[in-house]
Symmetry: C2
Subunit: 316 residues, 2 copies
């Protein structure tokens, strides 16, 4: 416990502050209404709580957030109506509702021009293929899912991104382990960081995969990897963990001295002594995630103002 190195604790509130100020200033200056509707079709108390946090945060920056409770069997038609409703600028849905494939189907029913969470196929596809805009003129940047985007913004704040390097390659030379390969956070995050030049070890209970950038393809490629978590942790400059378990702990001993550690699980995946070994540590990212949701919303609000000059979008 008597390490000389004491890591900087990075708080989500600090990271999100500049984004929130910028959002507030922009809404104030532009004097436009911005309305976000959250659809609650389950009886999940944690969704209710997240909705309260979102509502309060939106009030503070000047966004009109409305929570609408709805029977799950009416949700699909309601989403389609919301896509066409000019008074609604952003749509979010509290998942899980039916679970599994039915929920993913619903995610694809939200128009890319209202999808603040970036979960529809258009955005997923573009993300994996490192296509950064909806249009060729590059005026409509793609929406990135809020949680992976929050982690990127935290890495930028921590200066893990090297701004001296060219855009799209600012993580070149970094080795990053991500423990979680969910479709909502772990896999998209691995792809995004690899597309920015990092070498990623993506670890889940079954296996390890390696994501890295293919310069010829200008996007990441994925390969099977024989290394285990214990092998990749000492090699990693950054370790990002999102294991939804109270018991799960990454042993501080296994980490490289000076590591950068980010936890996005609602449980603490790192041990209490992590700051003794890490150069920087962020234990919770929720506030940055909400700021990214709001940032995505404002971006889409601006796109909607270009209507009727928006391109029709292909199925992918």
């Amino acid at each position: 416990m008597c390490s000389e190195q004491v890591g900087r604790i990075i708080s989500a509130a600090d990271v999100s502050a500049s984004f929130r100020d910028a959002l507030k200033e922009k809404i104030n200056r532009k004097q436009y209404d911005v309305k976000l509707v959250g659809y609650l079709a389950n009886n999940d108390p944690s969704a209710e709580k997240y909705a309260e946090v979102t509502a309060r945060s939106c009030r503070e920056v000047g966004i009109n957030f409305e929570l609408r409770r709805i029977n799950r069997e009416h949700l699909e038609d309601t989403l389609l109506a919301a896509n066409e409703d000019d008074d609604i600028h952003g749509i979010m849905v509290y998942y899980p509702i039916f679970g599994g494939g039915h929920d993913q189907y619903l995610q694809n029913c939200v128009s890319p021009y209202k999808d603040v969470e970036g979960l529809c196929h258009t955005y997923r596809f573009n993300m994996y293929h490192n296509i950064r805009s909806l249009d060729k003129a590059n005026t409509l940047k793609c929406i990135i899912p809020c949680t992976p985007l929050a982690i990127i913004k935290i890495l930028e704040y921590m200066e893990v991104y090297d701004r001296e390097k060219p855009y799209g390659n600012q993580l070149f030379g970094r080795t990053i382990t991500i423990i979680n390969r969910s479709e909502v956070v772990g896999r998209p995050l691995a792809a995004l960081l690899a597309n920015d030049g990092a070498k990623i070890y993506s670890v889940d209970v079954k296996d390890t995969l390696e994501f890295k950038k293919d310069i010829n393809k200008q996007k990441h490629v994925v390969a099977d990897c024989d290394l285990k978590l214990a092998d990749v942790l000492p090699l990693s400059d950054v370790v990002i963990s999102g294991v939804p378990s109270k018991e799960y702990k990454i042993s501080t001993e296994s980490l490289k001295p000076g590591v950068v550690a980010i936890n996005f699980s609602s449980f603490k995946n790192f041990e209490d002594n992590i700051a003794d070994k890490a150069a920087m540590y962020c234990s919770a990212i929720g506030k940055v995630t909400v700021a990214m949701l709001q940032r995505n919303l404002l971006r889409l609000r601006e796109y909607q103002m270009k209507n009727p000059y928006l391109p029709e979008l292909k199925f992918y």
Copy 2:
């Protein structure tokens, strides 16, 4: 066991015969190449076996079937290349590969103009919304997933569809129980049969839902239902079951005399004495499913010949 009523056994070979003859005749008459590529990216022996059956059946009707074995990490890019390859007329993929949401993402990477299985979002969406064509001129009928389509064709063969009634309402007055609510068969089947006018009880381990047609919306609506399987079986003119369990059996006693029974599980969900009570019984549907795959392929082959006059498809 001494019932006077003895049900007709309906064999999938009989139902598929006329479709296979029609396919063979068409391919012969039109003299075109038709190539279906199946991508095998898992090591699943049952997928290998299904591929063999498909290959043999395709040879018999004059379709060129090719099985391509591929590393799962290369599948996505391979599918995108196949979408653009004029020598490939239909694409099928042996799932599961990664499982869950990643597989559904891959289904959405197949072009609707090559998607013989009808699993991409465009077709799913149109199916649930009772939109029967890709174009307004109604020249490009939507592809229906093979297994639900096979069950519809079996019901037509059994004359459960009443051809005296108008198209789109030929199941009016029928009560049908479907035991299975998977995204691949049970839920789409419930929607399709309700869109054709039937009242559906969709039963799974958790609950029962009722699907029925809303005449004003010209599509089905879904409502929660308090009835249990034991309540709905005696009310049902047709019982369709797909429970993937050797132990699961529907008691013949619980069924309405003269019921129509269809099993699409690879295990027999009905008891051995089912034919004593049922008017008609079909114990396995596989051959009809393969015929529908081939029928979808030929339909898409014809669409591709309209290129470059095919409409670009929206994201849904």
